[in-house]
Symmetry: C2
């Protein structure tokens, strides 16, 4: 039985499976869309990963991840843009729907978040021509404000869309419920993104109460407080009908279970609470 | 030597001192402004706490805390408004500059954050006449989005100020750098709050990288990534010149040191990085 509309971000089964095994496990349960991470692709080789995608007719809902632009010096900034160009090439080789951009936080010992945000805008502008020529949309992912210092200084959907508007064609957003569910402006900003065709991906998981770790305690859909159906409804009304991509980092729970059980649970919850 | 411009939120030395001992320790190092929590006041008794405040000429920069409005039923909503009226009375008895409002999160198993926000607006409106008659300003404290589910569903300064504007006179905001530093709109919203005279308190600490616990790993000023001088500058340009109130919850570090050392460090950092 196939599960149209569901994609598995392979970080969800990172400890259990490499790229090929993850694909096999997805296909065995009817999932035909995936979102791999660059290190998972590199471990098997880009050519082989692309071959597996092609022969199985997989949809790649995104490649994770580009970004990480801020740096303390020119060499660092240049290295970041070079690496992002390679990430764009990889996304193109995989036929990914987008390259997910986790833009980076404060570089070094900086306390200047406005400067970091400026570096992000500059970095995106620097790699955008290459992305356009490769026909790889860049999906800026606003990350939860608790990651502003160390992972991404783009922290609201409104901020991400302002950036998209400034950059022009070829840039949109990845809307991850974990990062955005709390935002009092989320519904209005989803509608705004839809009007401009800027929704490129929809990531799902859940926010647990309590949350025991800032990074590795994401919940399975239905186990937390996020109104997943409402957000999905808003996203579909905004014109995005691509797969919902499950992305769960869970060091003490889901990463300790069998990959098959995790995938089966994702499917069951997708059918009941998403 | 006195330390004008610095207030100690007594949660910063919660394990070390009760109300009277905390006041003595502050006075011994020249601090003449405090912000106690209701349980700390109740432990010594409101009358005695008010007497200590008065005889020492202390400024009470805020009483923590009112709020926690959302509930699953009418009895719960009524109990919350009753408790807030009592908190207003206590703030009045202490001569506090404001009652800090941590508004509450999702009640019960609710996933309806819009409904919770509605309950907050209704609850504030219900107690506001009593606050006005007691001349106790209500300071809505937007909490970091990582607390949206379990502590406060008001999560940005913009959202808090929209609420203030809707409620009218007698309501403002407590701006805590821990909760707001990441916000791309913080500078504009501080200016907006200043134009309307809505800044009632300024809380300081720091955001540590990494942050090891969502609640109890706040940093001492200077140990994290927040540009404290810039935020203070913005707040003063917006017309607020009240004390900076140190509020640090730190179960594994500052709560394990002597209260005298904590206070001395607060003073030293206040003089150098704030």
């Amino acid at each position: 039985m196939s599960v149209p509309g569901l994609s598995l971000n392979l970080a969800t089964v990172r400890p259990q499976f490499g790229f090929a095994a993850a694909v096999d496990a997805c296909l065995a349960q009817g999932i035909t869309a995936i979102a791999p991470w660059r290190d998972q692709v590199q471990a098997i080789g880009l050519v082989e990963a692309a071959r597996i995608v092609k022969i199985n007719g997989l949809q790649v809902t995104g490649l994770c991840r580009g970004g990480m632009f801020p740096a303390t010096n020119y060499a660092g900034l240049t290295a970041a843009t070079d690496d992002n160009r390679r990430a764009i090439d990889e996304a193109a080789a995989l036929g990914a729907d987008c390259l997910v951009m986790v833009v980076g936080g404060l570089p070094g010992a900086s306390k200047d978040i406005a400067a970091a945000r400026g570096m992000v805008a500059d970095g995106l502008a620097a790699v955008l021509p290459h992305a356009r020529s490769c026909r790889v949309p860049l999906a800026i992912e606003p990350l939860h404000p608790m990651y502003a210092a160390d992972r991404a200084c783009v922290n609201t959907l409104e901020q991400a869309l302002d950036l998209c508007d400034a950059l022009g064609a070829g840039v949109g957003v990845a809307i991850d419920v974990y990062h955005t569910w709390w935002d009092p402006k989320i519904r209005a900003q989803i509608a705004r993104a839809g009007r401009n065709g800027q929704i490129l991906a929809h990531h799902i998981c859940d926010w647990l109460v309590p949350t025991r770790d800032l990074l590795l305690d994401r919940g399975m859909m239905g186990d937390g407080v996020i109104d997943l159906k409402q957000i999905r409804g808003d996203i579909e009304r905004a014109g995005f009908h691509g797969p919902q991509e499950v992305e769960i980092f869970s060091s003490d729970n889901w990463w300790k279970r069998s990959g098959e059980e995790v995938i089966a649970t994702c499917i069951e919850r997708y059918r009941t609470v998403c």
